[in-house]
């Protein structure tokens, strides 16, 4: 069932790619390549690790994360991913999946995550654990559609801040998120660029991360994806789970309303 949904979403994404560049043999060849990669996505290795981390007793308090409230009540995982980021009353903040996991690891397990998370090495320690957890939690909402809340004022505020960040031009190249992701049907080199100012379609853009990157064999959560976007934008670095990253998540997530999640996906 889960597998079928994944395949359907991928086929839809490939069909979209093919119609956009029907006459472009190269693009078709690449769509075929991506289709071939779907069977055997190493993201599943991270999913396994994430599930284990969720259930395992860890930290100074020696408890699991099974009581963690991801927004749908303590321990409810299914469907949580497609509603994040959202406002959490206990922290008084809008939080994305990764920052919420940090809260749970701190409060439930007593792990000093703030000291542990490090954008300089997403593949090590607690940062890698958060990536694996995000992969598994994301996968539990596979085939579900994004539906972020905008009912709390703080959520609406974060959307407006995110929108401003999306269009903010700076750095030596004057790039903004919008430079690459503000219009339909554009490519950078051969990569199709989703238009993130609206719902770019099922399984693309916000609905495709966490993803396994074949170019470097790493599993990337949205925090890592945004971090590398800013690197390529030639900006300074956004801190892990900082409000810039969360506001952009709200902006993209709200815009993606109705898009089907194919997480965990596989990417170039």
């Amino acid at each position: 069932m889960k597998k079928n949904l994944r395949v359907l979403a991928v086929l839809a994404a490939i069909a979209a790619v093919q119609s956009a560049h029907a006459q472009d043999a190269a693009a078709e060849g690449i769509a075929k390549y991506r289709e071939m990669l779907q069977d055997g996505n190493p993201a599943e290795l991270f999913e396994m690790k994430g599930e284990e981390l969720w259930k395992q007793k860890r930290g100074p308090k020696n408890v699991s994360l099974e009581k963690c409230d991801l927004g749908k009540g303590p321990g409810v995982v299914k469907g949580a991913f497609v509603e994040l980021p959202r406002f959490f009353a206990d922290t008084g903040r809008v939080q994305d999946l990764e920052s919420r996991l940090m809260t749970c690891m701190e409060t439930l397990q007593g792990i000093d995550v703030k000291k542990e998370v490090n954008t300089r090495n997403f593949g090590k320690g607690e940062t890698a654990n958060i990536v694996a957890l995000s992969t598994w939690i994301g996968a539990q909402s596979m085939g579900m559609r994004f539906n972020l809340s905008q009912s709390h004022q703080a959520e609406r505020d974060m959307y407006e801040v995110g929108k401003r960040l999306f269009f903010m031009r700076g750095g030596p190249h004057d790039f903004a998120c919008a430079t690459c992701h503000g219009e339909d049907g554009k490519r950078i080199r051969l990569q199709d660029l989703p238009n993130l100012t609206k719902n770019p379609g099922d399984g693309v853009g916000f609905a495709a991360w966490p993803a396994y990157r074949v170019s470097n064999g790493q599993m990337w959560s949205m925090q890592h994806r945004l971090n590398d976007c800013y690197r390529q934008q030639r900006f300074p670095e956004p801190k892990f789970a900082s409000d810039v990253t969360i506001a952009l998540g709200v902006y993209m997530g709200v815009n993606a309303k109705g898009a089907e999640s194919i997480v965990p996906s596989i990417k170039r």
């Binding site: 190269a26 008084g92 903040r93 809008v94 709390h152 004022q153 703080a154 609406r156 505020d157 974060m158 407006e160 801040v161 929108k163 401003r164 960040l165 269009f167 903010m168 031009r169 700076g170 750095g171 030596p172 190249h173 004057d174 790039f175 903004a176 919008a178 430079t179 690459c180 503000g182 049907g185 554009k186 490519r187 950078i188 080199r189 051969l190 660029l193 690197r231 390529q232 030639r234 900006f235 300074p236 670095e237 956004p238 801190k239 900082s242 409000d243 810039v244 990253t245 506001a247």
Partner: protein, 217 residues
Amino acid sequence: MLKKTVIALAIPAAAVLLGACTSSPSSADYDKMTAEVVKASFQDRGIAKLDRLEQDMANKECAAASVAGKPIEEKVAKAIEETEMKTIKWPSDGKFLGDWKEGEKIAQSGRGLTWSDDVKTVNGGNCYNCHQISKEEISFGTIGPSLYNYGKLRGVSNPSSPESKAIVEYTWGKMWNARAYNACSQMPRVGHKGILNEQELKHVMALLLDPNSPVNK
């Protein structure tokens, strides 16, 4: 009365305070909130320092227009273009074209100026990321227009002839500072921001305008 405690977190605090007196914050309130979020969120890394977040008039006005979902005001656009036009430096020796083979290498490279580069990294032009250029390279972007046959289509058979002067100068100026011609152009201000130096720009000029370049075959 109880003293009100202001929560240290920028966003919920703003929401609470603003929510108390007005139904929803104004666009200017959000601009301010965004500035605070930016200040709290970014950090220096490698050669990418916080000063890169400072916005000049051109970036500020163009971003504001995008947020509002409207084209930039004509008056503002003119002012930007005039300011940017003054930044263009013309070749010191009067020669506009270098070696197209070198130009192709620069056009291919997307390196330089990220926090994972260092000061010694030779910057690329990032050209193929957005433009089709030579026919041979099938991996090209479409954010900018195709530049295939750039010189040929514009009738440049001899770049140093008087007939070609206008287009040669325009091409140089456009690469030095694209926003002198189009206030909110997405193209980096390649010369003005020091992404490529004069010699490197000459090589890219040759790639586009030399009749022997594969671009014009």
